[in-house]
Amino acid sequence: MTGRQERPPALVLVGAGIAALFFLLPLAGLLLRAPWAEAPADLAAPDSLLALRLSLVASFSATALSVAFGVPLAWVLARFDFPGRNLLRALVTLPMVLPPVVGGVALLLAFGRRGLLGPVLAAVGIHLPFTTAGAVLAETLVAMPFLVITVEAGLRALDSRYEEAARTLGAGRWYLFRRVTLPLLAPSLFAGGVLCWARALGEFGATITFAGNFPGTTQTLPLAVYLELETRPEAAIMLSLVLLAVSLAVLVGLRHRWLGA
């Protein structure tokens, strides 16, 4: 696919070099300041493990929710023309540009005790703020757009001849979606899922605003990092590195495997 390797123009190289340094330097700062001697103690602290576990549970739950509801939404956006489609698409991408704290306030006003759905939720005994479910919801709000956009782009780029062939062979709509569209969509679904998961893992603002902060319930790793930064900056650096390592392992590993990069 790459063909002949050519040396890029000097100006491009300079730009790329600056961009690479920009990503590398903060990482180098973390690595150089990390208190490696105290690493085992910091990482084995009960609160650290609790936060790591909660982060993994919440980010994967948010990704699962995003796939379950985001894929149908992407499908509708990509395949059906209806009035207000562009508005809906803009609405979906809104959380990507919204400051997450604002997203958290908006969630309170929708799902909080005094929120639009508050009385309904209370009637069925659901209380979202200050619960792990609330943290998952906050992460889903900011992360799902990444999945929807990627999957929608994938659907648009799909070669429709396979689906037409299946249709002429008598496949029903659900069968077609499940056995033809979905497998063809796998690469973009996966890329979208990984982006969504990574965003959910790093979520901070919406979570602390909507779900609050309590160890084991809503204190995810980014929240723990923020709080440690105030009292034990060295431990915060160590936790940040854990978050980085987990994300990097998943991103590199999956990218290689699925996108053949």
């Binding site: 909080g112 005094r114 200050f130 902060n213 309590f214 923020y226």
Partner: protein, 247 residues
């Protein structure tokens, strides 16, 4: 606000030929505990009214957040903390000029929703099952003081959230998400009619002391010193009007 008072002052005091130029000038950056927000905004306006050549920028956050920002090299001229330990971390790092001075004191109060729908009258009520209590985190002065007050009253409370600053506790109660919290008297007063305060009796209450210090490397050391002098002088009545007690 600063610009406005500067303009007003410029209009009002045009013919003052004999006065020496005010040495208090330049841009002043004040890092202040979140609980000082309302009072300091007023003090900033009065200060720049007195010194038209100066402007004041505030950075309000939980005291530990401010300490981290300062020790990591944030450009600040004055630090006003809500407790001594956080101030000690700054002076201990050799970042202050001279010893800090206590300029105000504060007391704790239970904050509940307007009308007190859960009928909370004492610290002991906070342990009631099913009650959603929010506290500031144990590293935040307000959270530490709340812990001391609860301990002194012999009450065990498991909060649903440990907020990163005291204002977030008030917000959670004002929005109706939490039933009660423990904050400063001044926070309840500043929140206005959305919340109510329940007095904590003296024997369990904790008196918070607010120390301030001018920081090394201040962009305008004269203005920094003038601001602290202002806190101890004309600023005191402003602080009192916001519910703070004199040191």
């Amino acid at each position: 606000m600063g610009l406005l008072s500067l303009l007003l002052a410029a209009c009002g005091s045009a013919p003052t030929p004999a006065a020496a130029p005010d040495p208090v000038r330049g841009s002043l950056t004040v890092f202040a505990a979140a609980s000082l927000t309302e009072a300091f905004n007023r003090i900033g306006a009065e200060f720049t009214g007195l010194h038209p050549g100066a402007s004041v920028q505030f950075n309000f956050a939980g005291s530990p957040t401010l300490v981290t920002q300062i020790t990591e090299g944030a450009q600040a001229d004055v630090f006003a903390s809500a407790d001594q330990p956080n101030m000690d971390r700054v002076t201990g790092a050799g970042l202050s000029t001279g010893p800090p001075v206590v300029f105000a004191r504060n007391r704790l109060e239970i904050v509940v929703e307007k009308g007190n729908p859960r009928h909370i009258t004492s610290l002991a009520d906070l342990a009631r099952p099913g009650l959603l209590v929010v506290l500031a985190g144990p590293t935040v002065p307000a959270g530490k003081y709340a812990g001391q007050a609860l301990q002194s009253a012999g009450v065990r409370v498991t909060p649903v959230s440990e907020e990163t600053d005291v204002k977030s506790v008030v917000t959670k109660v004002a929005l109706g998400e939490a039933d009660a919290g423990i904050v400063y008297v001044t926070d309840v007063r500043a929140a206005g009619s959305t919340v109510e305060g329940i007095t904590i009796p003296d024997q369990h209450n904790v008196i918070a002391s607010y120390p301030a210090v001018a920081l090394k490397g201040a962009a305008s050391p004269v203005a920094a010193k003038a601001f602290i002098d202002f806190l101890l002088g004309p600023g005191r009545s402003i602080l009192t009007s916001f519910g703070f007690a004199a040191p």
